[in-house]
């Protein structure tokens, strides 16, 4: 990673992770279901190092968007704790939520609903600095600078309304809006999924350039493994509210441990008509997160599922340093009772 310039807000030093999440849990009660709930995020622990890009991948309903909102306290977690740069979030001696939001920002997927349709985009960008105590003209100036930085001429695009911009231009404005308050960490929730491929590439290049220029830390949420591979340093694979695999990017893509990760990787189109995928890597859809399967949540679609997978929750191995690569699978756990378990 690029060497970090001195930032007075850097309290914990370069070794202190930017964000640590411990056992985050969020269940949404479902109305008229007799007390059932969607287990959107169910005991998720990870850390984001300073200056790194953490990729989060998973299919719909795996809880990746809920996780994004939990990291900013836009949704209150049911349980678990967040530690930002060494300070517990929202607890007495730690960092208050207001202060967290000065340092962490979010970019959403849907560029249509993420900008106020009745506001010129420069005002949308200036809003953040303004509510954080800048004078109106100062906030305007920040907005101009930020629009320039994301590649939009502030004179031409600043006074426009969102409907007068293309999808890619809107997403640039969204990025400018998120960066206008000078955050240290940005959560990117499917930032390029709604964009055309040619625009997607532009925005990815922009995100990488901005990260270098502004010493940012990214959490990059996406369902597109190719994009995640290109942009991330480490990846977290989620399935039905749980982490199934976590590790450095090359390790995950070259030596995937979890059968789900392998299936995800194998489901990517080949890009070569001479080598088409002949058999589906796995069958069926992700199950409903309201009543997830017992034990290992992937067992209903897993080709290696055995008795133990139904009865016991596989544990994600302990993380030892930033390079550790772990998977929550009985086959990876010595003496778990699975016939294919490594017998160490």
């Amino acid at each position: 990673m690029s060497s970090l310039a001195y930032d007075p807000r850097d309290r914990g030093g370069p070794q202190q992770p930017m964000l640590i999440a411990r056992d985050l849990r969020k269940h949404f009660p479902v109305k008229a279901s007799g007390g059932k709930s969607v287990q959107a995020v169910d005991g998720v622990s990870f850390s984001v190092g300073k200056g790194e890009t953490l990729g989060v991948v998973g299919e719909s309903g795996c809880g990746k968007s809920t996780l994004a909102r939990l990291m900013l306290h836009l949704i209150k977690p049911d349980a678990g704790e967040l530690v930002f740069d060494g300070d517990p979030v929202g607890v007495a001696p730690g960092i208050p939520i207001d202060a967290l939001r000065r340092q962490v920002q979010i970019v959403f997927q849907d560029s249509y609903s993420s900008l106020n349709p009745r506001m010129p985009v420069r005002d949308s960008v200036a809003f953040g600095p303004f509510v954080q105590g800048k004078r109106k003209d100062e906030a305007r100036q920040v907005a101009r600078d930020m629009l320039g930085k994301v590649g939009l001429d502030p004179e031409i695009f600043g006074p426009r309304y969102p409907h007068e911009l293309s999808g890619g231009q809107k997403q640039r404005v969204n990025i400018a809006r998120a960066l206008a308050t000078g955050p240290r960490m940005v959560i990117l929730d499917e930032p390029v999924s709604a964009l055309d491929k040619s625009i997607e590439a532009q925005v990815l290049n922009l995100l990488r350039a901005l990260k270098r220029q502004l010493n940012l830390t990214y959490v990059f949420i996406s369902h597109d493994l190719n994009v995640v591979r290109y942009i991330s340093d480490r990846v977290l694979v989620m399935y039905l509210g749980r982490i199934v695999e976590f590790g450095p990017i090359d390790a995950i893509f070259e030596r995937p441990l979890h059968p789900y990760t392998r299936a995800l990787l194998a489901s990517r189109p080949s890009m070569d008509p001479a080598r088409r995928i002949e058999l589906p890597p796995i069958s069926g859809d992700p199950p409903n997160p309201i009543e997830p399967p017992s034990g290992c949540r992937f067992r209903t679609r897993c080709p290696f599922a055995e008795m133990v997978c139904e009865t016991a929750d596989p544990m994600l191995g302990p993380l030892q340093g930033p390079q550790s690569h772990v998977a929550a699978c009985h086959m990876q756990e010595a003496h778990s009772g699975h016939s294919l378990a490594a017998s160490a």
């Binding site: 231009q169 590439a201 290109y230 189109p269 080949s270 008509p273």
Partner: protein
Amino acid sequence: MPLAEVRDLYVRFVTREATVYAVNGVGFTVRPGEVLCILGESGSGKSVTLRALMRLLPARRTQIRGSVTVEGQNVLGMPRRALRDLRGGLVAMIFQEPMTALDPVYTVGQQIGETIRRHTGCGREAARRRALELLEMVRIPSAARRLDAYPHELSGGLRQRVMIAMALSCSPRLLLADEPTTALDATVQVQVLILLRRLQRELGMGMIFVTHDLGVAAEIADTVAVMYAGRIVESGPVGQILNAPAHPYTAGLLASTVHGQSRDRDIDAIAGSPPDMRRLPQGCSFAPRCPLRMAECRFAVPEPRFPVRGHMAACHAVAHSSPATQAAVTPTVAGSRATISAR
């Protein structure tokens, strides 16, 4: 005889505010048993072209010019009654979002049965048996039970399979697919693609598959037509298009699709944004973003060129391979399955 033929198709949407030039002179043919992929980004006119094949565009605000024939029948000049027989009979369509295409108040069995009875006039029992057969054909697990399920009770992948079953209920000769896998998860998308490929082969249908995803096209297409700003800019056999693109737009699209690029350098993105479809540039629509732009690109819409037999690119920078292939009049997809298997 080609299964479907489109010639010089122009589609405009006229509103009080502005005129949108959605399709500007598109032509192609589809043979029986061929899968044509129309590849393009949003606003390229790919879905509009597809809808024109079934005349599904709102009649009041749309101006259509050109000719669309399916099995020799003129679709654009067809009386309404004949059009009803065409839709769902000879030609069927599947959509991106099955939830909007399925009626939420009827069960899956009722909806498929209704379609069958409308087109064949068979009885309720026979229709139900056929519906069950269809659900089994699209590999829906425990099909008999799903027959009585409502659409909202099914997962996204199952819904898409139900819609495919419904489209196949009257054995269409031509299946139109409008991004049917875009809304699906990756692991489900590949299942649906494999299913569609298998059904298309087994039933010998022609298929026109609209997508924005090069990877999807690679998985399913025999021939590919790349659309940009309402025109086909390149067409040919899928291997040719993906491995040796001739048009700078296709090349740029391929370069900007992330698949295993080196992490150390930027992606080679296409500069700029797609044109405003209300005010298209005078010459080549891609010229403002094109790295190979020449003076003439600003003034003249490029004529189709054929660098290789069966491979068309509408670009001033592409040279013809031999005068013999210049005979073709319209940018027509002339690839066939033979060229692909030869590769």
